[in-house]
Structure formats: structure tokens, C-alpha cells
Symmetry: C2
Subunit: 500 residues, 2 copies
């Protein structure tokens, strides 16, 4: 956004700066409208109460995303930042009426088609079309500068990247591996129609037989995606996290999709609705997800692990060096890991035999994102070959702040000085940081060379990067666009520590 | 249940004894019916194939819960036991047809409204109304036995008791105070119609003015209830917790109630729906609740604290020794406490002046239920005069287990040996216990004589009571019916420690 024009204009409203950069567009209120209008060549801003995975296509089509609710790690914020897209969230002064297609703020009413301009770096919303300015692209200077940084820094920098295109971009930006590849990414956005449908069949399956059939259909999608990413990152490690979110998140809401699903499963709608209803949770963030799914449905872990090992074995034969690191999320007790690792070892032996390879280099490790995991890190380190801190969830549970619900009080908390900063933006070093330190200390007591990383969005935030360096992390990982920042912050931390 | 009557009657069916105690009520088949019938003052038993989180309100409203499916750690069993509610699960002889509203067993058909009696300690189901016996009937042997226990034990035992009747019962059972009086109790169950309506007005208020008006209406209800409890406990401390649950929990679902509310606020239905919708949260357990409400709406804390101080001052003049201990829930950072304590001090000065008393004895303290609170206990202890561990929430967030959603995996976790016991039944000493210990240690480092208690349901479970004793707790607090167990367990812990 042009700074002069901005200085001369009063913002309409203020929210959280969830996706940096500027953007302008016409207001639309549904993901479908965003897609339709964009197809007609119109620039749009998607304005929503909050977003969910069903909005992803519309979010992609929009110039920017604006939500009334949610914090710095809400769905909208995470998705937008991963894409490097402008985004303002938690703009609580907006009163959105998506039926009437109006949004009201401070007495003013805006309608569908009205222009808005957003400053995603400051969280500001302007009425009308503000002049924009391209970000300065002086790649050579940046490259030279990062070279200097790389000579100074000691801690590794990886990227959180899902589709193979992102992996390639991350590499260009200087990432030394992928710190977070989320298997579930392939069920969101472009090209996800087919795998998502098959995932849905798996989710609402009742019997092991039904579920196995759906998993078999899903397998080729998961494998081809993982294989492409491992290939793009040849020679560099790729941390692959098994399916993490609560399954209900993937259940469709539209009647049409539900009917299609019922037909495919050969059950009637009321039965499907009953099954879908049974998946609903009061607090899904603390529900049946991550490793808990792997324990209750071992076949789900098995399918993913098979896809990883088969990909790696096949690439090995093609002369590509694949380095998968299998990561289990939401772990809070070592028995969960032991259970899953036994399963992984079983699949490993099967694939090695079937693919006739001598071995498949890989690591198995755990995310550390539940407070309890930090306290029993010594026990976890007895089995895990690496830790990766999921600081989004660790912040949620450590502080009891649901990241989708902080919008209602975070503003007051910052304004009244209750908190010095939004803990989803920069690590709460006193609280969450203390948990992290306990985990690092206890983990390394048992396994001296334990590889420790971070894959929460904090991994690209300078103060948090410095904290990670000082706490002895092996690497940080963040969205591709933030990799240069992480490289710089890591170099600064090393330089600062040397001075002392 | 009366043992003589029971011995003379043949049970209709047998299931698993999931929630001890006896209960009788009329059969209802849906959670909504349970809520509606209970509001009309009817005693009901909720009969379901199995329960899920959406049934929770109905389960709360029912005298007891009976399910055809599920084991000792099914959703129904977990929830009921958490509440100390009578429950029989896995009663597979029942054939429930919830559309026809009938339940068949061994050839007999029962209908909605028919009476059932349950023995939740033995898992037995009886037709009709069996005579019940209160567990608090004077039992000389028990009294003598508890006297021996009391001579041995060192740790205090209090009760979690809300309505004044419960306070009296707790006293009879030997409780040395109330460890948890929840202000919100007066919005649930019998006699709650009026205060609940006023609370709802407050909740959906938009402006400070609207909210203050609703709070003023609410004040006399809150005060009279608190005063009666303080009076019943004269000479013994009463820990009063300010409103804790997420506000959306109180928003009505029925169209009729919504209309009534809209009329009272002089707004139209679409506006009310919009306000109610705005309160909805993705993970309410980690949302806008507890102290967070007190920070964003200081007037809500103020009203409650005024009710407490006015009650205590008036009782003082009547010669009753009131010992309120004001407790702030969901605290995770010391600035929250400082903010609320300043407010409390202001109200205190006003009431002392208005009521013309020299002073009003009281304590101000905090619940410790967020993992972060344990880590910064030293800072909290600088302001708080006591800690009370809310181990239900600490377990939820420490392990990332939403207690309403563990039904889907807890069975598997116990069966496969992932966990040795349900952490909501007995404290997870290795994880949650470690957090508790860190909190006690850090808190007492700053304030040596810090009073430390527990008010989660674990306070009445023997192994957890022993843990509390060994960790240096001043007292445990549990539901009145479990007080004798807590007294015994506390004596055993002291005896065991002495032997070593």
C-alpha cells in the first residue's frame, strides 16, 4: 500500500495483521462468490465471520481475506500466511450479515461489490480503493545479504510447505529442509475434490472393512503427493506429519455433497447424518485428533506410513535421496509413541522386503504441543529421534487460549496491558517458553543429540527465533515467505550470543 | 436406594455400575426432553442408546442416566461420574426405540413418562418408584470411625457445595468449610428461571448501559444466595468462585425463550440472533470465560464482589461470622489477578464505608487450572492469598483432553494400556501432578504460608487425596457425599507417611 496515501486516510476499522502486504478488492461474502467473481476477472476481498476449510477455494481466488473473528493463528491467518496473501483477522468492529450481504462498522454500512483496501502488515481496513505499491524486489541484494547471514548463523532454517510447488519455492528461499509437511493439506483447495471425497468416505465409515476400502482408494493420492515433495527436496530432510485435525472438520455441510457421500457409501441420509453427528465435538481442539486417531484407527497411520516408505524406496531406485522424518502429532504420553512406532516398524519391514531395498533412511519423532509432553520429555526421548515443537497448540493449551476464540478478549488484554503481546504472534517466553525449556532439558538428558525444531508459526518471528536459538534448538521452520526473516533472525541471535 | 426395598424387588435389567448412588425418575428419550421436563420440576431419567456431547445439558438435568451401550469409560459414564451422578451403562437387554419413545426389555415395554429406579452402585434397573434413602442419614458407626480418622489426619477437608442446603449437608458430613461455591450454580436447575433470565439479558447486552441495568437486576439474587451460604457456614471459610463458564452456555435455544428475551431487551429477533451467534466459540473451554470475562466486563466482577462484601458485612452485624474467600478462575498471568484485585479493593472500601463496619475479614486468591499458572505460580503468589487447584481443567489442558470428548478414544486408551487410568477420575500424577508440584513449590517459595487446596472432583478420590497430602496441600475439597471418603483417605495418607 502506498504509504503517503495511507497516511492521509483514516482507517475504517482495525484488526490483527495476519497476512502482511497490501490489497484491494470488492467485497464478497461467500467463498463461492469469490471464485465466481474472480473468474469474471474481478478483484475481490473475501469478508467472513471466520473461515473454515470449505472456504479455501474462495480464499485462494480473493486478493485478501478479512474476518471479524479469530486470532493470529486462526484458519484464515494460517492459510493466508502460507500463501503470502494479505489478511486481516479478528476485526471485531465488523458486523457481518452474510444473508443481507452487508457489513456494518461504526455506523457505516458496506455492501457486496463495495471496494475495500487492506493493510495486512498493520491490520488496517480502509474504505474504497487505495493506491498500491509493489514490494521492492531487489533479489540480488537480498541474496548477498542472506549469504552473509548464513555465514554467521548456526541454527538451521526449514520451511513449512505442503504442495510440491511450495517445497520448490522454499528451497529457492534458502530453506534447508521441510520442517512441516501436513498430510491433510491435500484435502484442502485446488485439486482436492477427489482425495477429499475419499477421505470423507473414510471418516464416516463405520466398520473396519468400509474404512480399509476408503483408505485403499485414498492411498495413491497420498503417495503421489508425498513422493513429489520428497523428490523436490532431494537430499534435504522432509518432516511429514500424520493427519492431525479433528475429523469432523472434513465432513461436508452442503446437502448436495452429503447426498453424494451417502450414495457412495450406499447408506441413507439419516444414517449419514447420524454418523456425521457422532463425530461432532464440544472442544475439537482437545478431542479425537492426531495420534489419538492413530491409536483408535491404526489402519489410518499404516496407510500414511506405507505411502512414505514406498515413495522413499522408489525414489532411492531412481537415484533421488529421500530423507523422510515421520512425525506423530498431539502426543502426551510415551505409550502413544511406542504404539505408533511398532506399527511404523512393521510397515517398514514389509516395504523394505516388497521393494527389495537394503534400507530406507528415515527418522521417527514426535511433535511436542501438549503441555504434558514437555513434562515427560525424558520418556518421549527414549523412543523419539526428534522433537518438533508445535507452538500454536502449545500456546493454546498452555494458556488455555483457543486460537479461534481469542478475538473476543485479546484486544482488551493488549490494551489493558494484561499481556505484553499476542502469544500467538511471539512466543510467551515466561509461560510457554518455560514449558519448552523443561522439554528440551528433559529430552536431551536422555538423548544428548536429540534433534529439536519448531514448526509453529512462531518459527518465522524474530524474537521467537532468538528464543529458540538460546534454548538450543537445532532448527526453526516457518512458511516459505518468512524463511529469509528466519535466516536473518537466526544470524542476529548467533551474533548477539557471541558478543556476550 | 433403600436396601430392604431393593432386596424384595426383582431388577428389570442389569448393566454396568458407571455412576454410584441411587435415583428414580420418569423415562425420557432425548436430552431436550430431559431439560424441558426438569424445568417443569419433574424428575427424569435419560434413557439413550449411548450419549454424546450434545446430550450433556440433558444429562445434567436428569436424575440419572441409563444407556444400552458403552462401557465404564463411555461418554455417559465419564460425564456422570464427574458429576457424582447415578448412571448405569451398557445395559444391553434394553431395546430402545427413541422415535416411538419406548424401551423394551425381556418382553416388557416401557414408555416415556414411566418410572424407573436405578442402583448405580450395582448397575441395577428397577421398574417403578423405589424408596430412596439419603446417604447422610446419621450413622453412629460412621461417625465414630470418622472421629478416629479426624484424630489422625492433618490435611483439611472441605466440600464443593452450591445451594445453601448443600452447605448445611456438607457441614453435617464433617466438612470444615466450602472449597468451591460456584456463583453460576444459581442459573442452573430448580428456581433458576428468574436469575437465568436476567443473566441472559446481561449476556446479550451490547452496551455498558444495557449490561449494568441487567447486572443491577441480577444483584439481589446473587446476594441472597451468597448470604444464605455464608450464614449456613458461619465460622467456616467459604471459597466463592466468580462466574466461570463461557457465556454462550447460557444462551437459550428455544424460539420461545429467545423471543421473550428479545422483547425484554427491546430488540428484534434477528438482532438477538446476531448477538447470540457472536458469542459462539469453536473451543469454548479455552474461550472467553472466567477471569477473561472479568477483564473485559469489570462490572460483572464488581457486582459479584459487592454481593459478597455486603452479605458479609450484614451478617457481621447479625453476629454471624462470615469468612468469604474470593476466588478468580481461569487465571494464567499475574496481571489478570492484579487487575481484578484492584477492583475488589475498590468495592471493599466502598462497602466498608457504606455499611459502616470496621473491616470485613476475607481472602482473595486464584484458581490454578491453566498449565501456565503452575509455571508462574511465584508471580501469582505475590498477589494471591491462596491457590485452589482446579484439576478438571488442569487435566483438560495439561493433556489436551476435552472431558466432553474423550468418549471416542478413552475406552481404547485404557484397553490398549496407553493410559493406566482415566485422568479425570484419578490425578495423572506423572503429568498433571508434575504441574501441580511445580506450582506448589514456586508458590510457596514466595509466600511460605500459602494456603493451597484442590476443588476438582479429584479431591474426593483416595489416590489423588494421598497425592495432595504428600504434595503439601492445606486441604482437599469435593462433593458433599464424598467428604467422608476424603476424610478417610486423608487420615490414611497421614498414617502412611508417618510409617515411612
Amino acid at each position: 500500500m502506498d504509504p503517503k496515501a495511507e497516511a492521509a486516510t483514516k482507517p475504517l476499522a482495525k484488526g490483527l495483521p495476519a497476512g502482511p502486504g497490501g490489497a484491494k478488492g470488492m467485497i464478497v461474502f461467500t467463498a463461492q462468490d469469490a471464485v465466481d467473481w474472480a473468474k469474471q476477472g474481478k478483484k475481490v476481498i473475501l469478508v467472513r465471520e471466520e473461515t473454515n476449510p470449505e472456504d479455501v477455494e474462495g480464499m485462494r481466488a480473493a486478493q485478501a481475506i478479512l474476518t471479524a473473528r479469530g486470532g493470529m493463528t486462526s484458519h484464515a491467518a494460517l492459510v493466508a500466511r502460507g500463501w503470502g496473501k494479505c489478511c486481516v483477522v479478528g476485526c471485531s468492529a465488523l458486523e457481518i450479515d452474510s444473508r443481507a450481504k452487508t457489513v456494518e462498522t461504526h455506523g457505516q454500512t458496506l455492501r457486496e461489490g463495495d471496494w475495500l483496501s487492506l493493510n495486512g502488515s498493520k491490520g488496517l481496513v480502509y474504505q474504497g480503493e487505495m493506491p498500491m505499491r509493489d514490494a521492492d524486489e531487489s533479489n540480488k541484494e537480498l541474496e548477498a545479504f542472506l549469504k552473509v547471514c548464513n555465514a554467521v548463523r548456526k541454527m538451521g532454517v526449514r520451511a513449512n510447505a505442503d504442495p510440491p510447488e511450495d517445497a520448490a519455492r522454499a528451497r529457492r528461499f534458502g530453506a534447508e529442509g521441510i520442517g512441516l509437511f501436513r498430510v491433510e493439506h491435500m484435502f484442502y483447495g485446488k485439486g482436492s475434490e477427489q482425495p477429499l471425497f475419499k477421505l470423507r468416505k473414510m471418516i464416516v465409515s463405520k466398520s473396519l472393512e468400509e474404512r480399509r476400502a476408503a483408505l485403499n482408494e485414498l492411498f495413491p493420492h497420498v503417495k503421489s503427493d508425498i513422493k513429489a515433495t520428497l523428490k523436490a527436496m532431494h537430499g534435504l530432510p522432509v518432516t511429514i506429519r500424520t493427519i492431525d485435525p479433528p475429523l469432523h472438520e472434513f465432513v461436508p455441510h452442503e446437502a448436495e455433497k452429503l447426498q453424494e457421500l451417502a450414495r457412495a457409501l450406499n447408506i441413507d441420509m439419516s444414517e449419514l447424518e447420524r454418523r456425521a453427528h457422532g463425530l461432532r465435538e464440544s472442544n475439537p481442539m482437545m478431542g479425537h485428533r492426531g495420534v489419538r486417531l492413530g491409536i483408535t484407527y491404526p489402519e489410518v497411520t499404516e496407510m500414511q506410513v506405507r505411502a512414505i516408505f514406498e515413495s522413499a524406496a522408489e525414489l532411492q531406485k531412481e537415484g533421488v535421496k529421500a530423507l523422510p522424518e515421520i512425525m506423530i502429532p498431539v502426543v502426551c504420553v510415551e505409550t502413544e509413541l511406542k504404539n505408533q512406532f511398532e506399527l511404523i516398524a512393521k510397515v517398514y519391514a514389509e516395504v523394505v522386503k516388497a521393494k527389495k531395498v537394503r534400507s530406507i533412511p528415515h527418522l521417527v519423532g514426535t511433535m511436542i504441543e501438549i503441555p504434558r509432553a514437555c513434562l515427560v520429555a525424558n520418556k518421549l526421548a527414549e523412543v523419539a529421534q526428534f522433537f518438533s515443537y508445535g507452538t500454536n497448540d502449545l500456546t493454546q493449551m498452555g494458556l488455555g487460549f483457543s486460537r479461534d476464540d481469542t478475538g473476543s478478549f485479546m484486544g482488551d488484554y493488549l490494551e489493558k496491558g494484561i499481556l505484553p503481546a499476542d502469544p500467538f504472534q511471539t512466543i510467551d517466553q515466561e509461560g510457554v517458553g518455560e514449558l519448552i525449556k523443561i522439554g528440551v532439558e528433559r529430552g536431551r538428558k536422555v538423548r544428548k543429540d536429540l534433534k529439536i525444531g519448531i514448526c509453529g508459526e512462531h518459527g518465522g518471528e524474530p524474537a521467537s527465533v532468538e528464543f529458540c536459538y538460546n534454548t538450543g534448538f537445532s532448527y526453526v521452520s516457518c512458511s516459505p515467505f518468512r524463511v529469509p526473516i528466519a535466516i536473518l533472525a537466526s544470524a542476529q541471535a548467533a551474533a548477539k550470543a557471541r558478543k556476550k
